[in-house]
Symmetry: C3
Amino acid sequence: MFHTRLDKYNNSWYHPGRNKLVIALWYIVNAVFFCSFITLPYSIKNAILRLFGAKVGKGVCIKPRVNIKYPWRLSIGDYTWVGENAWIDNLDQVNLGKNVCISQGALLLCGNHNYKKETFDLMIAPINIEDGAWIGAKAVVCPGVHVASHAVLTVGSIATKNLEPYSIHSGNPAVKIKNRI
Amino acid sequence: MFHTRLDKYNNSWYHPGRNKLVIALWYIVNAVFFCSFITLPYSIKNAILRLFGAKVGKGVCIKPRVNIKYPWRLSIGDYTWVGENAWIDNLDQVNLGKNVCISQGALLLCGNHNYKKETFDLMIAPINIEDGAWIGAKAVVCPGVHVASHAVLTVGSIATKNLEPYSIHSGNPAVKIKNRI
Amino acid sequence: MFHTRLDKYNNSWYHPGRNKLVIALWYIVNAVFFCSFITLPYSIKNAILRLFGAKVGKGVCIKPRVNIKYPWRLSIGDYTWVGENAWIDNLDQVNLGKNVCISQGALLLCGNHNYKKETFDLMIAPINIEDGAWIGAKAVVCPGVHVASHAVLTVGSIATKNLEPYSIHSGNPAVKIKNRI
């Protein structure tokens, strides 16, 4: 019988993309200025994100209490919003298009584990969210999911598969329930 | 084809109900004394909420780490509980009746967007939760939902429509699964 | 007609397992060193948990921002992980086996209320999670649920009943969808 052996877990192949000093520095900046009630002007937050390697378009709004794992694996298009208490857990690349809305409490999840292996190997996959899409409050986008242009994921829904363009998706797992227009 | 244009978003019609100074002051009070591990006596918290315009009955219990957007849009009846890490995102009026239980991690959500308009217009709607109702842990009540007397929303469920009196509702979206008694 | 009367709520029978001084001390330690961005070495965290009465095996990894109610009601087996922002709300005993993974944002919930009684009596029940099980990100395990060996609860799913061994469970409420291997 198969037995998970986390003592044999080995993610040494994974490279977080920056050295330990930069990672530690971002960890502190994230804790103090992003994932807190401190409200720096959006322009300052966007400048800090760019300093740490993020691509950030114009007019981007990052609300308070947003948790971002690695800004150097984050690209945000013009006029996109990231709501209060959202969590961008981007072990892999997260690309947000233009005019995207990530609502409050949403989670973008790039990490998974191979539950068929005793070593529970880390598996990562990027998330791409195209222009005009809307991820509802407390919704979750799972690793590797492609959210097509102007797709909507309703409040508290869990996207485990790609979302279709100009369509509303709901449930756990989320399925298409209707067209956007 | 329709394209969301968040650069054209305009919520200037929306009035938060207080001037910027009061809003900033509440923001700090909320961050320090409500949405934190600090444990003021319930009576002090209730007095602070009343000072900011909330209607708060007797015997109300607000646990730690509760996030309240605008206390002047909040009414809480006698002996009602608000659990740890609950989030009252009351852009519009939230009325909690008497003997209501909002469990830990629940979200009361008053804001929505018109996803059929390029300008993604803000839409707000009040939430009314009647006497004796129970919103389970990590459940979400969506904008405009009326939770009738003694209705129950189970753990992690999403109420997108009105909940019936003396009935248990479950799922995403929540549907009635049985009577309360 | 039945009316909830939270003014008559009485949980004086419930004993949290330690005196008020120890509970207050743990409350502060939890707030400062566990449920925060502070990153003590795992070995130090495990030692602190043991000091407060937890049974903690070797190689246990507790990530930042983890909220633990009562460590003296917690047992964690060797090489088990508790992910960022997980919440162990253990009013009753929580036993995590060996090589268990509790992913980020998950909630282990031991408290419930009897909604058929006007006094809304507190009901508690232990949670047992056996070796090799995996509780996905933002998933919830409800009071009294037994998670059998190597069971998996998918992202955002709600376990209201026991989970079968070596099986994947999904949804709200979670149902078995396939075998693990």
